[in-house]
C-alpha cells in the first residue's frame, strides 16, 4: 500500500485472503471481479463498507471481499442490513442475495425493503436455479424447467424480480449481466450514487445446474440483436445497427418498430413518475422481445434511515429528561 495521504485502493485491495470456492466457470467470479473493480474506481474504503448476504452460492460473496462482511441466514440479509443501516446510516451497506434467497424465502423482506426505501444496495444474483442445494427450480425458473424436484417440468409461473421491485415501490431498479463487465460496473456505480434502495438484478450463469440459461441473448453472436440497452433520454433501440426499436401502445403494450416507424421508438426516461413503462419492459416476453438491461427506474425519495435518524436526533436534541426524570415520572409518592 502506498503511503500517500489518501491512498486510493486498487481492485486487489478489495480481495480477501480467502480462496474463492465457487465452481470453476461460475458466473459469480465475473461479478466479484466487476464489483471489486467498481469499488476501487469509486474510491471506497474497506472499513466503511459492509457486505451482508443470505445463504446460497452467491451469498458466499462477503468472504471474498476484504471489507466488513456478514453471511447471515437464508433470505434475511435485507432485514439484518436494515438494522445495520438504521444503527449507523454512515456505513456503505451492500446486500448480496440469490434468486431463491431474495424471491422465495426472503420475498417478504425484499418487498418491504423496497417499500421503505432503505439505503441498501442489493445485488441479486439471478441464475434462475437453487445452486447451493444442487439444482432445484427457483421462483425465477421458467415454467416447464426440468430439475431434480420437477422431473416433468415445473408448473410454477416465475417472478420477474424487476417487476416485483417496481411493484413494491423500488426507487432504483436495474439489470445487468455477469459477463458484460463494463456495463455491470456502470450499474454498480449508479446504484452506489442512489440515495435509497438500489436493486440490481444480475443475470448469472450457473454452469453446473442451469448452464446457458441466458446464452440466448448473452452469447457474443446474439447480443446485438437480443439485448436492449436502456439509456436515459435515448430511444429504445436495438440491433447491431440500432435499426429496431420498442414502442408502446396506449395500454403500454410493447411492440417492435423498424424502418419508417423507427422514430416511434419510445424515448427512455428512467426518472418517469409512472412505473408503467418500466413495468412494461420488465414483463416483456423474453422469447419475442429483446432483453432490456440497464436502469429501469430511478426516483429520488428520502430514505428510511434518514427519516428515522432525524426523529431520534431531534428528540435527543430537545431532550430535557434525565434517566432519573424518566424513572421518577408519573404519579410518585414518598414513604417516610
Amino acid at each position: 500500500m502506498s503511503s500517500v495521504e489518501h491512498p486510493k485502493l486498487t481492485k486487489k485491495d478489495f480481495k480477501s485472503d480467502q480462496d474463492v470456492r465457487w465452481c470453476p466457470g461460475c458466473g459469480d467470479y465475473a461479478i466479484l471481479n466487476s464489483v471489486q473493480t467498481a469499488f476501487a474506481d469509486l474510491g471506497k474504503k474497506l472499513h466503511e463498507t459492509v457486505i451482508i448476504s443470505g445463504i446460497g452460492c452467491s451469498s458466499r460473496f462477503p468472504y471474498y471481499m476484504d471489507t466488513y462482511g456478514f453471511h447471515t441466514i437464508h433470505g434475511r440479509a435485507p432485514a439484518l442490513a436494515t438494522g445495520v443501516k438504521l444503527s449507523n446510516p454512515e456505513l456503505d451497506v451492500w446486500v448480496v442475495t440469490g434468486d431463491g434467497d431474495a424471491m422465495s424465502i426472503g420475498g417478504n423482506h425484499f418487498i418491504h425493503t423496497m417499500r421503505r426505501n432503505v439505503g441498501l444496495k442489493i445485488l441479486l444474483f439471478n441464475n434462475r436455479i437453487y445452486g447451493l442445494t444442487k439444482g432445484q427450480f427457483s421462483p425465477t425458473s421458467p415454467q416447464g424447467k426440468v430439475t431434480k424436484s420437477s422431473p416433468l417440468g415445473s408448473v410454477d409461473y416465475p417472478f420477474a424480480p424487476i417487476a416485483l421491485a417496481l411493484g413494491a415501490g423500488g426507487t432504483f431498479v436495474a439489470r445487468a449481466v455477469d459477463i458484460l463487465g463494463p456495463h455491470l460496473q456502470s450499474m454498480v456505480k449508479q446504484a452506489d450514487s442512489h440515495n435509497g434502495t438500489s436493486m440490481i438484478e444480475i443475470y448469472q450463469n450457473c454452469n453446473i445446474f442451469n448452464d446457458g440459461a441466458f446464452t440466448g441473448f448473452t452469447d457474443k453472436g446474439a447480443r446485438d440483436e437480443r439485448i436492449l440497452y436502456l439509456e436515459h433520454q435515448k430511444p429504445l433501440l436495438f440491433g447491431a445497427n440500432k435499426d429496431k426499436g420498442i414502442a408502446f401502445d396506449a395500454h403500454f403494450r410493447p411492440f417492435i418498430v423498424e424502418g419508417d416507424d423507427l422514430g416511434k421508438a419510445y424515448v427512455w426516461d428512467e426518472t418517469s413518475d409512472t412505473p408503467a413503462p418500466a413495468m412494461a419492459l420488465a414483463t416483456m416476453d423474453e422469447e419475442v422481445f429483446p432483453v432490456p438491461i440497464g436502469v429501469f427506474r430511478r426516483q429520488d425519495k428520502p430514505n428510511f434511515e434518514y427519516a428515522v435518524k432525524q426523529q431520534v436526533e431531534t428528540a435527543v436534541a430537545n431532550n430535557k429528561q434525565s434517566i432519573k426524570d424518566l424513572i421518577y415520572a408519573g404519579e410518585i409518592w414518598d414513604v417516610k
Binding site: 434475511r76 449507523n88 435527543v316 424518566l326
Partner: protein, 629 residues
C-alpha cells in the same frame, strides 16, 4: 388483625354507622369490554397507590377488542387488592364484585366471597341481556344470589339523571356509568377523588365536555352512596408500612423497558428495538418507541424474523439489539437467534409469554415457553435465560439482561408473562446514581499490517471483541458457518467444531460466576423448599409465609437466572427433604432440575391460563408437608 397475606372478607357483623377499618380489600370490576372496566380499575389503583396502600392488580381481558356486547366472551375484568401491609398477589377471591351486566355476573360470581358485596347495574338485566349471558332465569330472583350483599342500582338511569344538563347524547352519557360506579366505591372505601379528577382532565384534555360528564357522574355516585345509605358503613384501609423511599405504581412491561433504558444509559450503549406487534408484548414496542429522546431507535418490522434480524444487525453495528415478542414470535425467531449465538453478538430477546400452544389464549398467562427458550433452536445453541417475577422486578431483570449480553457477548432471553406485563404494583424507585456499573468496550482501531482476530477471547468471560464496522483496521467477516476460533475463518475442522461448541457453552456457563447468592425466604434447610420462577412468586411467597407463621419448616426461593442456574442452587435444594416447584406449565423447570441434579423435584403444575391462587398453593404445600413428615 395482623397483616398476614390472606384475605378475610369484609366484616358484616355489626352494621353500625360509621367508618370501619380494614387491613385489606379485594375488588373486582367486571363488565363488557366497552364498559370501561380497565379504566375504572386503573383509576382506583392510582388513587389507592397515592394514598399509600400496598396494591396489586390483575387485569383480565378478552382477546377480542369488542366481542359481541353482553356475551360471556366479551367480559373484561380488573381485580385489585389493596392493604395496610406488604402483599404479594392481587388476591384470590374478591370481597366486592361490580357486575355491569348479567354476563359479567355469570363469569365472576363463582369467586365472590360469601357475604361479599355485589353491585349490579340493573339497567342491563332485561330479558335479552339475560339471554345473551345464557341465563334462563333472572339470577336476582332464583335465590342464587342469597348469601351476598346485593346492591342493585340502575346505573344507566342514575347517570343520565346526573347528566341532564350535559350536551352529550345518551350514548355519551351512558359511557360515564363506570364513573358513577367508581364514585360509589370511592365513598365506600373512603378514597380521595382528586387524583381521578386530575387524571381524567389530563386524559381527555381536548374534550372538556367528556371530562365534565365523567366527573359529574363520579360525584353523583359518591353522593348517592353517602346519602341513600345503601351501605351502613364505609371502610378505610390505612397506608401500608412500606420501606422508606419514593414510589410509583408500575406495570411489568413498563418496568422492563425502564430497566433496559437505564442500563443503556449506564453502559453508554445505545439501544435498538426491532419488533412486530403481538399480545401481550406490544406495550414494550409502544413504550420504547416513546424513548427516542433517550436515543432509542425502534423499528416496527414486517414480521418477527425481520425484527430479530434487524436487532442482530444493530448489535453488529455496536448498538444493543433487542427484540420483543411472545411465544409464537420466538418460534419464528429461532433460526436468527442461532445466528446471533454463532456470531457471538449481544442480543436481548424479550418473551412476554401467553397461553399456548399455537395462538392459544393470547390475553391469558402461562410460563410454558421455558423449554423453548432453553432448547428451541437447531444444533447445540445454548443461550442465557433470565426471568422476571413481578412488575417491579422487571426493571432489575431488564438491567441484568443488558449487563450479561454486553459482558459476555451473548444473546439473552428474558421471560416475562402476561400477568407480570399488565399487572401493576408500587415500585420503590431505585437510586439512579447507585445502579450497578455496566462496562461496554468496543474494539479499538486495529494496527496497520496486523490482521484483526475477531474470535480472540477475553480470558475471563470468553467474550470476543465487539468490533464495529466503520472502525479502521478491523475488517472481518462473520456468519452462521462454523468459524475457526481466534481467526474467524470458515472451518470444517472436527476438533475446532468440538472446541467451538464447548466454548459457546462455557461462555454461557460462566455467567453463573458473577451471580449473587440465592437467599431463601425462611430457613436455609427444613422440610420443604418451594422453588419458583416468574410470576408465581407472589402466590408462593404468600402461601409459604402463612405456612411459616403456622410453624411449618418450609422455605421458598426464586430463580431469576434459569440458564445458567446459580451455582449454589444444588446445595440449597439438598438441604430440604422435599423440593416443590409450582409452575404455570407442565413442569418444565422441574424436569430441567431433575435432569441436571438428579433431585426428585415435585412439580405442581397449573395450565388454565390463570395465575396461581395463593390459597391453592398453601393447601398443596400443606399436603406435601404432611407427606414429608
Amino acid at each position: 388483625m395482623t397483616g398476614t397475606d390472606t384475605t378475610n372478607g369484609l366484616t358484616t357483623s355489626t352494621l353500625e354507622s360509621g367508618i370501619q377499618e380494614l387491613d385489606q380489600v379485594v375488588i373486582r370490576f367486571a363488565g363488557d369490554s366497552g364498559d370501561g372496566m380497565q379504566l375504572t380499575g386503573d383509576q382506583f389503583t392510582r388513587t389507592t397507590a397515592l394514598m399509600g396502600n400496598d396494591i396489586a392488580t390483575f387485569p383480565d381481558f378478552p382477546a377480542e377488542i369488542r366481542a359481541p356486547a353482553g356475551t360471556l366472551p366479551g367480559v373484561s375484568a380488573f381485580q385489585l387488592r389493596f392493604s395496610s401491609f406488604d402483599i404479594h398477589t392481587p388476591g384470590d377471591a374478591p370481597d366486592v364484585l361490580v357486575a355491569m351486566n348479567p354476563a359479567a355476573l355469570k363469569a365472576h360470581i363463582g369467586q365472590l366471597k360469601k357475604n361479599g358485596i355485589l353491585l349490579l347495574n340493573t339497567a342491563s338485566f332485561k330479558p335479552l341481556d339475560l339471554k345473551k349471558a345464557t341465563y334462563t332465569v333472572d339470577p336476582r330472583t332464583d335465590g342464587s344470589l342469597d348469601g351476598y350483599r346485593v346492591i342493585e342500582i340502575d346505573l344507566t338511569a342514575r347517570t343520565r339523571e346526573a347528566l341532564t344538563e350535559s350536551d352529550l347524547d345518551n350514548r355519551g352519557k351512558d359511557r360515564c356509568k363506570n364513573m358513577y360506579a367508581l364514585g360509589i366505591l370511592y365513598w365506600l372505601f373512603q378514597r380521595e377523588v382528586e387524583p381521578t379528577q386530575k387524571a381524567l382532565a389530563l386524559k381527555f384534555a381536548k374534550k372538556p365536555a367528556i371530562v365534565e360528564a365523567n366527573l359529574k357522574a363520579m360525584a353523583a355516585g359518591h353522593a348517592y352512596a353517602e346519602t341513600v345509605e345503601i351501605f351502613q358503613v364505609s371502610y378505610t384501609v390505612a397506608p401500608a408500612k412500606m420501606p422508606a423511599g419514593t414510589y410509583r405504581n408500575i406495570m411489568g412491561n413498563q418496568a422492563l423497558c425502564l430497566g433496559l433504558v437505564a442500563a443503556s444509559n449506564q453502559g453508554n450503549v445505545p439501544l435498538f428495538l426491532g419488533s412486530y406487534p403481538i399480545t401481550p408484548a406490544s406495550d414494550v414496542l409502544h413504550q420504547l418507541s416513546g424513548y427516542k429522546n433517550h436515543g432509542v431507535v425502534t423499528f416496527q418490522a414486517e414480521d418477527e424474523i425481520a425484527a430479530v434480524c434487524a436487532a442482530i444487525g444493530a448489535s453488529y453495528t455496536g448498538r444493543l439489539g433487542i427484540t420483543s415478542t411472545s411465544g409464537p414470535g420466538v418460534a419464528l425467531k429461532a433460526e436468527a437467534i442461532g445466528l446471533a449465538i454463532m456470531a457471538e453478538l449481544p442480543l436481548i430477546v424479550l418473551n412476554i409469554q401467553r397461553a399456548g400452544p399455537s395462538t392459544g389464549m393470547p390475553t391469558k398467562t402461562q410460563q410454558a415457553d421455558l423449554l423453548q427458550a432453553m432448547y428451541g433452536r437447531n444444533g447445540e445453541s445454548p443461550m442465557v435465560v433470565i426471568a422476571c417475577s413481578t412488575a417491579a422486578d422487571a426493571f432489575e431483570v431488564g438491567y441484568e439482561a443488558v449487563r450479561i449480553a454486553t459482558k459476555y457477548m451473548v444473546p439473552v432471553m428474558v421471560l416475562s408473562d402476561g400477568y407480570i406485563a399488565n399487572g401493576s404494583e408500587p415500585w420503590k424507585l431505585p437510586d439512579v446514581d447507585a445502579l450497578p456499573k455496566i462496562e461496554v468496550n468496543y474494539a479499538p482501531e486495529g494496527k496497520p499490517d496486523e490482521k484483526f482476530k475477531p474470535y480472540e477471547r477475553n480470558p475471563e468471560t470468553l467474550a470476543r471483541p465487539w468490533a464495529k464496522p466503520g472502525t479502521k483496521g478491523l475488517v472481518h467477516r462473520i456468519g452462521g458457518l462454523e468459524k475457526q476460533d481466534i481467526t474467524g475463518n470458515i472451518s470444517y475442522d472436527p476438533d475446532n467444531h468440538q472446541h467451538m461448541i464447548d466454548t459457546r457453552a462455557d461462555k454461557v456457563a460462566r455467567v453463573a460466576n458473577d451471580l449473587p447468592p440465592l437467599v431463601p425466604i425462611g430457613e436455609k434447610s427444613g422440610d420443604v423448599l418451594v422453588l419458583g420462577w416468574g410470576s408465581p412468586r407472589g402466590a408462593i411467597t404468600a402461601a409459604v409465609t402463612r405456612l411459616q407463621e403456622q410453624g411449618h419448616k418450609i422455605s421458598c426461593a426464586f430463580l431469576r437466572h434459569l440458564n445458567p442456574l446459580p451455582n449454589d442452587l444444588e446445595a440449597l435444594m439438598r438441604s430440604f427433604k422435599k423440593v416443590v416447584l409450582p409452575e404455570l406449565n407442565k413442569g418444565q423447570l422441574a424436569s430441567m432440575l431433575r435432569a441436571k441434579y438428579l433431585i426428585d423435584v415435585k412439580s405442581y403444575s397449573q395450565v388454565n391460563g390463570q395465575p396461581f391462587q395463593s390459597h391453592a398453593v398453601e393447601d398443596y404445600m400443606r399436603n406435601v408437608l404432611q407427606e414429608v413428615k
